[in-house]
């Protein structure tokens, strides 16, 4: 079973995001970079599948040489090798990313292609579906449980208000949701081994961006909290406000 996991480097979930002077990028100095958390679920799942069934896990990431730091993290978790598709920056247009990944994935003969369900930086959630479409493969999104037995694949998907169980043929594109697994810690041995694993750099012609960022802005500032009273006497007023003002009950 050969599995490809497409992963993206994103700012740490606790990073303080500041908009750069150009107004269309974020400031990158001092930001801690991590593997997109949903991609980490995908890597963990790929490792568990190959530990059970044998095979190799290949990480694929698009970006400049600086993304190799997080690729190494994935290799430290246990992935066997990696491909970096060279690009000056991560393209804003998911079509460009999807096309580049599809071109490289096509050459690899993978039995399964895993993604995170979305990248936590620009939250587009488009790339897995674009890749599946370009490769003409089944796309199974937002998966919280995955079973691969003798070529038969079953997944549990999270849907509004419940779960959906699906079966599908392989190869397929699957995107991981939180809950799929608990990613492992990088062991010291894993980190030492990662140093020696190959990262192949591929140069390909990227499609032209059809989408460009015009302007980034901060979310509106949160309004300060309000104390409506104290003790049981405050309950009716609180209930009224939650119902009429906040409209949550």
């Amino acid at each position: 079973m050969n599995i490809a996991v497409c992963m993206k480097q994103t700012p740490d979930t606790e990073a303080q995001i500041k908009i750069a002077d150009d107004g269309t990028h974020i400031q990158t100095d001092g930001i801690k970079w991590i593997i997109n958390p949903y991609d980490e679920f995908a890597i963990e799942e790929a490792l568990r599948i190959t530990e059970k069934h044998g095979g190799e896990v290949t990480l694929i990431s698009l970006g400049p040489a600086s993304v190799e730091k997080t690729i190494r993290e994935g290799l430290a978790m246990g992935a066997h090798k990696a491909i970096r598709i060279d690009a000056p920056e991560s393209p804003a247009d998911p079509q460009v990313v999807g096309a580049a990944l599809a071109e490289v994935l096509k050459e690899g003969n993978y039995d399964l292609i895993l993604f995170g369900k979305q990248a936590i930086d620009d939250d587009q959630s488009q790339v897995p579906s674009i890749v599946a479409t370009l490769l003409d493969l089944p796309a199974v999104a937002v998966v919280v449980k995955l079973d691969i037995e003798d070529g038969k694949a079953t997944a549990l998907r999270e849907i509004e208000g419940g779960h959906e169980k699906v079966t599908f043929s392989q190869p397929a594109v699957v995107s991981a949701q939180r809950g799929l697994n608990e990613p492992r810690y990088r062991s010291l041995k894993g980190i030492m081994a990662a140093k020696k694993k190959p990262i192949e750099v591929k140069q390909i012609n990227l499609k032209e961006n059809q989408l460009s960022v015009e302007k980034l802005s901060y979310p509106p500032e949160k309004k300060p909290g309000r104390i409506v009273g104290e003790g049981p006497d405050a309950v009716p007023e609180l209930v009224r406000l939650l119902h009429e003002e906040a409209k949550v009950i």
């Binding site: 606790e14 730091k69 190494r72 993290e73 430290a76 810690y185 990088r186 062991s187 010291l188 041995k189 980190i191 030492m192 140093k195």
Partner: protein, 389 residues
């Protein structure tokens, strides 16, 4: 709980490799998720969290700087030190466990053991399947271990041990004890397995410090062990002292972690605690304390990183380790006390960690050579005059 970020006032991180930083981060994450939520409870109960041992083994934290052929991670000494820093940021007891297992049990077996002893014990100790302890100190011989009275006598194909060891970390839970005893007047090392008749390891209770760590007495009464359990290459007091150099090296790093934890807590608290209508961080006296803390942490970081680089280059002198252990533990303890003070009454509760660190560091100040003994070691080194007696 928020994820921990270490202070780095002098951009010392720029001097670390990506791999060293990745190792630090991995252990930091583990400490955040597995140690921080439970450690206060275990400290209060006076128990060591045994369930962490297999996880630590899996992550390769035991004897991490020993070679891969014996099941160890084979990391460099700076990465090993960063690991100790992160563990002690959680609790000195967790770091003590790793120090004893790696530097005081695996290291002597690696350095002084036979090939069979290494092949048998090192992989099991590396994975945490087996736990070890190190028995040097005796009730009447602490700072002066050369005076030890525990004796070994050869009897046919065995050695018979008699004597007692005191203050032995992990003693009660250890599967194997590295015991130092005199054979015909010379200090030698022996491996004593749990359950050997004539060997008991009762736990010492009622500690105010290192409560999340097991400390024990080891008692040997005509304890007969197979002759092949002697460490063949360990001869004389310099053998156990060389192990202590390894462990003290880790402690020097560990103290930085503890200091970072208490500084972080005090800084946060000082910025949010309001008295006289202002955050207490706005008072000069409080700032003075915080500045002392970050300055000493920064000095420790630079001193100890150079110590690690010297160790990796094979240039390390044990007196340098003494200086670092002495300096770092002393200042970590002062920092913990100041943090406790800045936290006011809250500082004495288990809601905050500074007092736990402070109490732990009282042990760290004493074990592995007391602060004053390290003064004498460095003093002898620079003057050429021993001042122990």
């Amino acid at each position: 709980m928020k994820k921990f970020e270490s202070p780095d006032y002098f951009q010392v991180d720029d001097l670390l490799s990506e791999e060293e930083k990745m190792i630090r981060q991995s252990i930091r994450d583990w400490v955040d998720e597995e140690v921080m939520p439970i450690i206060e409870e275990y400290y209060q109960k006076g128990e060591f969290p045994m369930h962490l041992v297999p996880q630590m083994g899996e992550m390769g934290l035991f004897g991490a700087n020993l070679p891969e052929e014996y099941g160890c991670a084979g990391v460099n000494n700076v990465a090993y030190g960063l690991m100790m820093q992160e563990l002690e940021r959680g609790d000195s007891g967790i770091r003590s466990f790793a120090s004893v297992q790696g530097a005081l049990v695996m290291y002597p077996i690696f350095e002084y053991g036979s090939e069979e002893q290494k092949k048998y014990w090192l992989p099991k100790l590396a994975s945490g399947e087996k736990i070890g302890c190190f028995g040097l100190t005796e009730p009447d011989y602490g700072s002066n271990p050369g005076g030890m009275v525990t004796k070994a006598v050869k009897d046919g194909n065995s050695y018979i041990l008699n004597g007692a060891k005191m203050w032995i970390t992990n003693g009660t839970i250890a599967d194997v004890a590295v015991v130092w005893a005199k054979l015909d007047g010379e200090v030698r090392g022996f491996l004593v397995e749990k359950g050997t008749p004539g060997y008991e390891a009762p736990e010492i209770k009622g500690k105010h410090s290192l409560r999340a760590s097991v400390t024990s007495e080891l008692v040997f009464q005509d304890c007969r062990i197979p002759a092949e359990n002697i460490l063949p290459k360990a001869k004389g007091l310099k053998a156990p002292l060389s192990c202590l150099t390894q462990a003290r090296y880790g402690i020097a790093w560990g103290a930085i972690g503890s200091a970072m934890a208490t500084y972080d807590e005090a800084l946060d608290y000082a910025k949010t605690r309001i008295q006289f209508d202002k955050p207490i961080a706005s008072f000069q006296l409080v700032q003075n304390k915080l500045v002392y803390m970050i300055t000493e942490i920064t000095k420790m970081q630079t001193l100890t990183l150079q110590l690690g680089r010297l160790k990796d280059q094979g240039k390390l002198r044990f007196t340098q380790v003494s200086m670092a252990k002495r300096n770092n533990v002393y200042h970590a303890l002062q920092i913990a006390r100041m943090a406790r003070d800045i936290l006011g009454a809250n500082g004495i509760t288990s809601e905050y960690q500074s007092m736990r660190h402070m109490n732990n560091l009282e042990s760290v100040y004493t074990y592995e050579g007391t602060h004053d003994i390290h003064t004498l070691i460095v003093g002898e080194d620079i003057t050429g005059i021993p001042a122990y007696y």
